[in-house]
Amino acid sequence: MGSSATSPQAGHHGSGTRRDFLYLAAGGFGAVGAGAALWPFIHSMNPAADVLALASTEVDLKPIQAGQRITVTWRGKPVFIDNRTADQIKAARDVAATELPDPQTDQKRVKAGKDQWLVVLGVCTHLGCVPLGQKTGESKGEYGGWFCPCHGSHYDTSGRIRKGPAPKNLEVPEFTFVNDTLIRIG
């Protein structure tokens, strides 16, 4: 549309160049400004300071018996904490990591020296359902870990995907041992 309006003066070469430069400079400047002005609006949709401030949670492990699993809430999502038995750990380590859909050793998914404590996000990596297996009586899937009822993904005792449509292992959140019986997630 711009060219139609400027065509009448197309004959004046010298001033035309300067004019085009001015249009480009003003237009470019305006476009950069408009783009920059959008950022605060977009950024306002990112997590706010109060959300980020609450993004860590502490869990006392003392009450959890061997073989027991509990669920805690972190960032609005369930986190599975599993006090694994020796059998469950052995089952997780007997399989060669390279044969798995998402190769990862069990050792990489737990803290050294605290091998019985498995901490994973209870969110299926397929489409975000919460897998079964936390409560007694719920299906734990073919590998004794968790089973997602939405589309049939089976996770093992290390929370790794073994069968079904999920592409990745259950995510291990960032967490640290504050002391032997207290962890901080996030």
Binding site: M1, G2, A26, F41, S44, A48
Partner: protein
């Protein structure tokens, strides 16, 4: 002209144009195919500025709504959360909060431009009406928006303004209960005000489309107030007025940005940073500045008029002060549009302007204030009288008694009453067109 340029010959553009002629629609609406009087001055920038402000308000409002909770227990704190925790929340809220004031400044200037240059006169009466409808919708939207932070001014503003309707005979109290959704301004009121505050701007946008449509039928009025008589009187909207509007917009944004970044609470009332308390009314309750002239008119009717008591009289006068604008095209009997050629009208125009400012000032003062021994109430009453007197007496009579200055023959020949310089001046734009 546009049809044969490079843009419209682009194959992609052609493909789209054949199916949805959106580019030529824009070109005819705001582009090179929209002929515009060549003599518009900077007062004509304020229409596009108002459109810009509507977009800014809707955009910032949508993002605020994402973080706002319309509940009496959470509204105030959710606004403070926007100010303290949401990324750039303070910026978005200050833009929205001061944007309302900037929007009204722009629209009031736009209206006073129309009043001076006779933009309401035939054939633009419906264009003018649509403008008044937009103003009324803006007022409703702004009022309900001011309630949402649920501060002291929010609460008491809502209480006072909704109580205006109780002045209506017989059904007044029932209407107020209906507006509240209860027996006082409470959670139900806040909820519905939020719903309507979100809805009305889109209604405004719809009326703006009609306003622009009506504008395009006969084109813009111009400072001389005479009709365009052919291509020598007009220039294409693009690039001449697009660039002029863009420059005006940049200057306006400097002022807007200064308020947002360096005086964000200038237009606000400190009391609205106190959470709403239905048990305590603040000492000075005043509406936002853009309602002050109307507030002064409301308060100036302190006496019964025949069978109409003072309360109803005040409400009628307040609404009447806006509704009378609908009749303006017929109250102004002069056949000359532009105030430039009406020497006596000019004097009364500026008196009217000062009266409006005085009303605004009186509206912001305490009800029992005095200045130099004169009760402000009396000043407000005189100004209220003059406000209506201007419309129902001065304007109709001026049309009969005033002798306007001679009008120029055409826009491209702006020398009054003579044609000596005109030939040369008219020749050049003709080549352009």
């Amino acid at each position: 002209m546009a049809k044969d340029n490079a843009f419209f010959n682009n194959p992609t553009v052609k493909w789209i144009e054949h199916r949805l002629p959106i580019f030529s629609f824009v070109d005819h609406s705001l582009g090179s195919q929209y002929p515009t009087p060549r003599n518009l001055n900077y007062w004509w920038n304020f229409g596009s500025l108002a459109g810009f402000m509507l977009v800014v308000m809707i955009l910032s409002g949508v993002f605020l709504a994402m973080n706002y909770t319309p509940h009496v227990d959470h509204a105030f704190n959710s606004v403070e959360r926007v100010m303290r925790d949401v990324n750039y929340g303070w910026l978005i809220r200050y833009i929205h909060m001061n944007g309302a004031s900037m929007f009204f400044i722009v629209v009031y200037i736009h209206i006073f431009r129309g009043l001076y240059f006779g933009s309401y006169k035939p054939p633009r009466e419906i264009l003018w009406w649509l403008g008044i409808v937009i103003l009324l919708l803006m007022m409703a939207t702004a009022f309900m928006g001011y309630v949402l932070p649920w501060g002291q001014m929010s609460f008491w503003g809502a209480t006072v303004i909704t109580n205006l309707f109780s002045a209506i005979p017989l059904v007044g109290d029932k209407i107020v209960t209906l507006l509240w959704g209860g027996f006082s301004v409470d959670n139900a009121t806040l909820n519905r005000f939020f719903a309507l505050h979100y809805l009305l701007p889109f209604v405004i946008a719809g009326v703006v489309v009609l306003h622009i449509w009506a504008l395009h039928v006969h084109g813009s009025n111009n400072p001389l107030g005479i009709d365009t008589r052919g291509p020598q009187d007009t220039i294409p909207f693009h690039p001449y007025y697009t660039i002029k509007d863009a420059f005006g917009l940049a200057v306006f944004m400097i002022i807007f940005a200064f308020v947002v970044f360096f005086a964000p609470n200038f237009f606000g009332e400190p009391d609205n940073y106190i959470p709403a308390n239905p048990m305590v009314t603040p000492a000075h309750i005043v509406p936002e500045w853009y309602f002050l002239p109307f507030y002064a008119i409301l308060r100036s009717i302190t006496f019964n008029i025949l069978f109409i008591d003072a309360k109803l009289g005040g409400v009628l006068a307040m609404f009447g002060s806006i509704l009378i604008l609908f009749l303006l095209p017929w109250l102004d009997t002069s056949r000359v549009r532009s105030g430039l050629f009406r020497p006596i009208f000019q004097v009364f125009y500026w008196i009217f302007f000062v009266v409006c400012l005085l009303l605004g000032w009186v509206g912001g003062q305490a009800a029992d204030a005095t200045v130099m021994g004169i009760p402000l109430l009396r000043i407000g009453q005189f100004c209220t009288f003059w406000y209506f007197f201007h419309f129902v007496a001065i304007l109709p009579l001026l049309g009969w008694f005033e002798r306007p200055r001679p009008l120029p023959i055409s826009i491209s020949q702006p020398v009054l009453g003579g044609g000596r310089v005109a030939a040369g001046a008219a020749a050049k734009p003709m080549e352009k067109a």
